[in-house]
């Protein structure tokens, strides 16, 4: 049925898409021969194919726009003030990225294991897993001295990185050509 409607030519969008595929040289052999058959037997398909083919030729003949005559000169004058930045791979250490990834995954797994470890799986009062999850005592975990120390170290590291980031920005701004 669907195939019938596809072949009848009533579905204009489908017809266009299939004809564009055909014009672009895409589609498998059975699809291409089905379209060739339609082009021979169906006047609507034939006429639409002719239109799309002409449009395709027109688009291929489309001219490029040209910028001002001084374009290359303007670019080269500006480029004199710039330097090629070092390749990203030269200053991004993959080991650091991996280290950070492993750290956060370990942290996540740690939280998960700790949380699930608190659930009393033998308790039948709440059958729902969601209910059991809400019973996890998060306060107990976050009031732990070691966790607080860990959090404090993270905050200090964060501030240190932020300061580093801003001082780099300041340096870059000073070195930026005007």
């Amino acid at each position: 049925m669907a195939n019938e409607s596809r072949n009848s030519g009533n579905d204009t969008g489908g017809m266009n898409d299939r004809l564009w595929e055909y014009i672009d040289g895409n589609g498998n052999a059975p699809e291409r021969s089905a379209i060739e058959e339609l082009l021979q037997s169906n006047a609507e398909w034939k006429s639409r194919y002719h239109e799309l083919l002409e449009l395709n030729k027109l688009m291929q003949s489309g001219e490029l726009e040209a910028p001002s005559l001084r374009f290359t000169k303007n670019v080269m004058e500006k480029i004199v003030m710039h330097h090629i930045a070092p390749a990203t791979k030269s200053y991004i250490n993959k080991k650091v990225i991996w280290g950070l990834g492993i750290f956060f995954i370990t942290l996540f797994v740690g939280f998960l294991v700790y949380g699930l470890g608190q659930i009393d799986w033998n308790d039948t009062s709440g059958n729902n897993f969601g209910e059991k999850l809400t019973n996890i005592n998060v306060n107990k975990f976050f009031s732990n001295t070691w966790v607080n120390v860990f959090m404090m170290i993270n905050v200090m590291l964060g501030l240190f990185l932020l300061d580093n980031y801003f001082s780099n920005k300041r340096k870059a701004f000073r070195n930026e050509p005007f």
């Binding site: 969008g13 266009n16 898409d17 564009w20 002719h50 239109e51 799309l52 002409e54 449009l55 027109l58 688009m59 291929q60 003949s61 489309g62 001219e63 490029l64 726009e65 040209a66 910028p67 001002s68 374009f71 290359t72 303007n74 670019v75 080269m76 500006k78 480029i79 004199v80 710039h82 330097h83 090629i84 930045a85 070092p86 390749a87 990203t88 030269s90």
Partner: protein, 194 residues
């Protein structure tokens, strides 16, 4: 200077300190980059700015070009990103420019040369005017496919989308272009179809 050299040869020269060799790449790609920028910004002045910025960004990031793709594909990705950032900054309305004033503007741009223009030239100009009437997304994908001769896979890479999405966008853009041409250049299109 650098005529006849491949893109990779010029890039190698530039990376080894011959800054002036970069002019070869600018000369080679300026029309492509400018056309693409124009499709995005819809304004020649803005397009010139985006095209210049794109070449400067490409120069600064040249060490990151590893030759895994064509230089043109890499460059067009930069143009696309620079164009989008530019539009965001200018907060331009990037809706379809399907209105009579814009159409008149597009028409006026070439006024005065219509009388004695050769047929081929006139058709090319008609296509460009019709493309200028499309929304930036549609105009960009058509320019990349037909004028910059990028494959669907390359277009997908430039626009950061899936290849199938690029194919659907191209089909949709061509259909819209056909509609624009039939609406605004009815007589010419009729002659072409005959």
């Amino acid at each position: 200077m650098s005529t006849g050299q491949s893109d990779n040869e010029i890039i190698s020269l530039v990376l080894h300190g011959n800054q002036q060799a970069y002019a070869g790449l600018v000369d080679r790609y300026q029309n492509y980059v400018f056309t693409l920028a124009l499709r995005i910004t819809k304004n020649r002045e803005d397009a010139e700015e985006v095209a210049q910025d794109s070449f400067i960004k490409a120069y600064r990031a040249l060490a990151d070009f590893r030759g895994g793709s064509k230089f043109s594909t890499w460059l067009y990705t930069i143009v696309n990103n620079t164009g989008i950032t530019f539009l965001r900054k200018k907060k331009l309305d990037i809706q379809s420019l399907d209105n009579e004033s814009v159409f008149a503007m597009a028409n006026n741009r070439d006024s005065g040369v219509n009388a004695d223009i050769v047929e081929q030239k006139s058709r090319q100009s008609m296509v460009n005017k019709a493309i200028a009437l499309l929304a930036p997304d549609d105009a960009e994908v058509i320019t990349l496919f037909y004028q910059a001769e990028q494959s669907l896979e390359e277009i997908a890479g430039i626009l950061g989308i899936e290849t199938n999405t690029a194919k659907v966008r191209l089909h949709r853009a061509r259909t819209r272009l056909k509609e624009k041409m039939e609406k605004h250049f009815a007589q010419e299109v009729k002659e072409i179809y005959q």
